[in-house]
């Protein structure tokens, strides 16, 4: 299953890059994508895909607009701090434990923290411990509980 899916993805990527549809190109693309997925088919789709994954993708797509908006805000924040003559920064390091369990959820939360205003993930491990470097002290230092709640919602009923 994972073999077939990986080779389909690889072949689509090949077609996208080649942009031409002659016989020799399609044949070599087919051979090389089969070869690549023979070597590494357990990397891309590690476990079987079931229905909950589709739900998760759907939830993630609904999460994206909020994330994009946060990216825009954080960029204006960075621009303000970098261009201000006195450079209003007061960095500190915050530790907390998110109660996420799955690797995917932790990865999404870490990248979201990096992209939201004022905070960058310094360390995250598989137990859900996070170390965050924040550019301001005080209330804003801890990355909002709402990010965690949102990511937890994406993760949903994960059976790992």
């Amino acid at each position: 299953m994972s073999f077939v899916l990986t080779s389909i993805v690889m072949f689509l990527f090949w077609m996208l890059l080649s942009e031409e549809f002659t016989f020799i190109l399609i044949l070599s693309g087919l051979v090389s994508s089969l070869f690549v997925s023979f070597i590494s088919h357990d990397l891309l789709f590690g476990r079987a895909i079931d229905k909950s994954d589709i739900v998760r993708v759907h939830r993630f797509i609904r999460y994206l607009p909020w994330l994009l908006w946060q990216i825009i805000i954080s960029n204006f924040d960075i621009a303000y701090r970098a261009l201000h003559p006195k450079m209003p920064i007061d960095p500190c390091i915050v530790r907390f434990n998110s109660e996420l369990k799955s690797e995917l959820g932790i990865a999404i939360l870490a990248n979201s923290i990096t992209l939201t205003p004022g905070t960058v993930t310094v360390m995250a491990n598989e137990k859900g411990d996070f170390v965050v470097h924040s550019i301001v002290k005080g209330d804003k230092a801890l990355p909002g509980i709402d990010i965690q709640a949102k990511v937890k919602k994406i993760e949903g009923v994960m059976d790992v």
Binding site: L16, L17, E19, I71, I72, S74, N75, I78, A79, R81, A82, L83, M87, I89, D90, P91, C92, I93, A110, N111, T114, L115, G118, V120, T121, V122, M123, A124, V131, H133, I135
Partner: protein, 103 residues
Amino acid sequence: MDIRTIVSGVFLFTGCFFMFVASIGIIRFPDFYSRIHPAGKGDTMGQAMVLIGLMIYEGFSFVSLKLLIIVIFILIANPTATHALANAAYVAGLKPWKKGDKR
């Protein structure tokens, strides 16, 4: 000058502005951890903006599909790379800069 060129130009120059600001931030900020902030955010978004501007200019074709793939890859990879860098510095025991230390 049709409307599409104008929109793509706006995207292009907003992206350029943010990339430039990220560079200034990387130069001005006092320590490694705070330099990660502009590198992780400003660059990611500036680059996405410029490439989206190019996508709008190009219209729908293979080229804009490739641009879309680059944008998605960078939105995933750039925060991961900065996070990995920060992790390496943290493991090495680098102390963060506090307010009041000298620059």
